[in-house]
Symmetry: C2
Subunit: 152 residues, 2 copies
DNA sequence: ATTGAAATCATTAGCGA
DNA sequence: TCGCTAATGATTTCAAT
């Protein structure tokens, strides 16, 4: 993985698009005092180099009836089975993220569920049914006071 | 927080925009066999109702020289000081996320740093300098095999 | 990096189911 | 209420400089 050296224009473009991925290139161009085509070219290059990997809209899960978000620390019976477990986790739509980590847990998993019943059901019927999982610890997310992008 | 009832067209629009926030409305319209203006109207409504809260590009931190991502579990001296701690954490650009959680830790924090030295420095000079923090546990993120959006 | 032109898109209004 | 069509202005994209 080689590093890509960006300049201050790239930096400003990334900043703007982190705030709003749909911001018109011409808006950014006017703000940065360059031509619209320049912004277009820079973004193409950032994508080509793999710096910008995509874009997504952000959704308020609660508005769609998904009110319970939980971070789970997972202990496995054996460290070798991690990828097997991840393959099983992938099949559950409740799982939105998984992280291999060093330290006390083999992995962390983030799940989004409708309510506590739904979460409980997920935990017992789906997660604890995976035989490679020895035990889990649940950290229910009450609030996310900071959620932002890396300042580049 | 009232729930907003979406239909299958809303669902498809959200799906498409989660994959690519910049996808032209007309593309989505053709895929869904409706007029472009319809997609526009639906998206406006989803924004107005607070379902869609924004959009952002995704960046490969490693490509910009930020190679070490760490999840930190934090124990406080006293649960009452949580918001004070978050205010201090906000000032550190390395912190990209913080979560209040139930259970063993008062909060989790995700930090992005250039390398282990940078992380170590952050931990000792910044995080452990916060007097309300009793102790921390570091979970270095080795890989993120699952990272996706809620299927609505 | 800029310009300028062509193609495509976003946005709005009025109409109709 | 919701989706459609059509018109306008803005944006994206690309080739040439």
């Amino acid at each position: 993985m080689e590093k890509y050296q960006i300049d201050s224009l790239d930096r400003r473009i990334i900043e703007e698009l982190q705030r709003d991925a749909r911001k018109p290139f011409l808006d950014i161009a006017r703000k940065c005092q360059v031509a619209g085509g320049t912004i277009h070219q820079r973004i193409e290059k950032l994508k080509e180099k793999g710096v910008i990997t995509g874009s997504k809209i952000t959704i308020d899960h609660k508005k769609l009836g998904y009110g319970v978000e939980v971070l789970l620390g997972i202990h496995l019976v054996n460290a070798k089975v991690v990828s097997k477990v991840v393959k099983k986790l992938e099949k559950f739509p409740e799982v939105v993220q998984s992280l291999y980590t060093t330290g006390n847990y083999a992995l962390f998993v983030k799940v989004v569920t409708k309510d506590i019943d739904h979460f409980h059901n997920f935990l017992v019927k789906k997660l604890q049914a995976i035989e490679e999982i020895r035990s889990t610890e649940s950290f229910i997310c009450l609030e996310t006071p900071i959620d932002r992008e890396l300042q580049v």
